[in-house]
């Protein structure tokens, strides 16, 4: 396996879904190729970084605005056909 071929199989390797037939070639190449090792490691870290960050907080004022709008929407869809009581 060459560096280029390793690049193409990178996802499957990182995701643990690599074909066992290719896996050995992949591991052999990796063991002898420092640049590829670092690239694989960088990619793992990149994914971990994005996965760990739940940094998009919903603005508090939006919480209320959303409910107001949804309640209006709700009444146009539901209250038209039946009342809330059975």
């Amino acid at each position: 396996m060459k560096c280029d071929e390793l690049l193409k199989a990178l996802n499957e390797y990182v995701d643990g879904q690599i074909d066992p037939a290719i896996c050995e070639d992949f591991a052999n190449h990796l063991a002898g190729c420092n640049p590829c090792q670092v690239v694989v490691d960088n990619i793992r870290n990149t994914i971990a970084l994005y996965r760990s960050g739940e940094r998009y907080e919903m603005p508090p004022e939006f919480h209320d605005r959303l409910r107001k709008q949804l309640r209006e929407k709700w009444s146009t869809v539901f209250d038209g056909e039946s009342q809330q009581t059975h």
Binding site: C3, L7, N42, L66
Partner: protein, 209 residues
């Protein structure tokens, strides 16, 4: 009645379908933050993410009577949210080259070679706590083409399977895989250029040439 594990949302969904707004509101509270965060990552702007959340739950209200219990409520909800996010991207980026490009397939043939290869000087858990780094992450994500960013967000952040993402986006699984690889390579390059330890930089091996 599906044969899959019970949908934890089903009791509330059933009540909501019968006209119970309070039950619906509990579903909103349960998922609004998640939808908001995913939408934000895809559309890249707070106001747009808010619009996606609004449109998503408005669609839920409209289509609740047609909700089929063969899929989980959350899967259905996410499907609606992704569609609204994509619609918004198409609207905002109409006429530019950063659109989703429909089903057009990407190939493995001209993958960008990694340029700057170096271990990072901090580990990801330390970096994630840093404000500047959060900025770097969202900028890097925003620089990706829509079609790559959407796949990356759904696969790597939302942790949806390849087949789910293919279905959500209406593209082939093969295309999901190539787009994910391109997204990961581009993000790796961008983030490593900021966080890579230059003293430990390694040259790309050109055995392939």
């Amino acid at each position: 009645m599906g044969e899959t594990a019970a949908d934890p949302d089903l009791p509330l969904v059933t009540q909501a379908r019968a006209g119970d707004f309070a039950a619906f509101e509990q579903l909103v509270s349960r998922y609004e933050r998640r939808i908001f965060a995913t939408a934000y990552r895809i559309v890249g702007r707070r106001e747009d993410a808010e619009e996606v959340v609004q449109d998503t739950f408005a669609s839920v209200i409209e289509h609740l009577p047609q909700f089929r219990e063969e899929s989980k409520f959350y899967t259905w909800l996410m499907h609606i949210a992704v569609n609204h996010a994509l619609k918004l991207l198409r609207r905002n980026r109409h006429g530019t080259d950063r659109t989703m490009n429909g089903e057009s397939s990407d190939s493995y043939s001209d993958l960008p070679h990694p340029q700057f290869i170096a271990p990072w000087h901090e580990n990801p858990s330390v970096i994630a706590e840093n404000h500047e780094m959060q900025r770097l992450l969202s900028d890097a994500l925003d620089e990706l083409d829509d079609k790559y960013r959407t796949v990356f967000v759904l696969r790597d952040v939302e942790e949806r399977s390849t087949s789910e993402v293919a279905e959500l986006l209406g593209i082939s699984e093969a295309n999901v895989k190539v787009r994910l690889l391109r997204a990961r390579l581009q993000l790796r390059e961008r983030i490593t250029s900021a966080l890579g330890d230059k003293s430990r930089q390694v040259a790309a091996d050109h055995r392939h040439e």
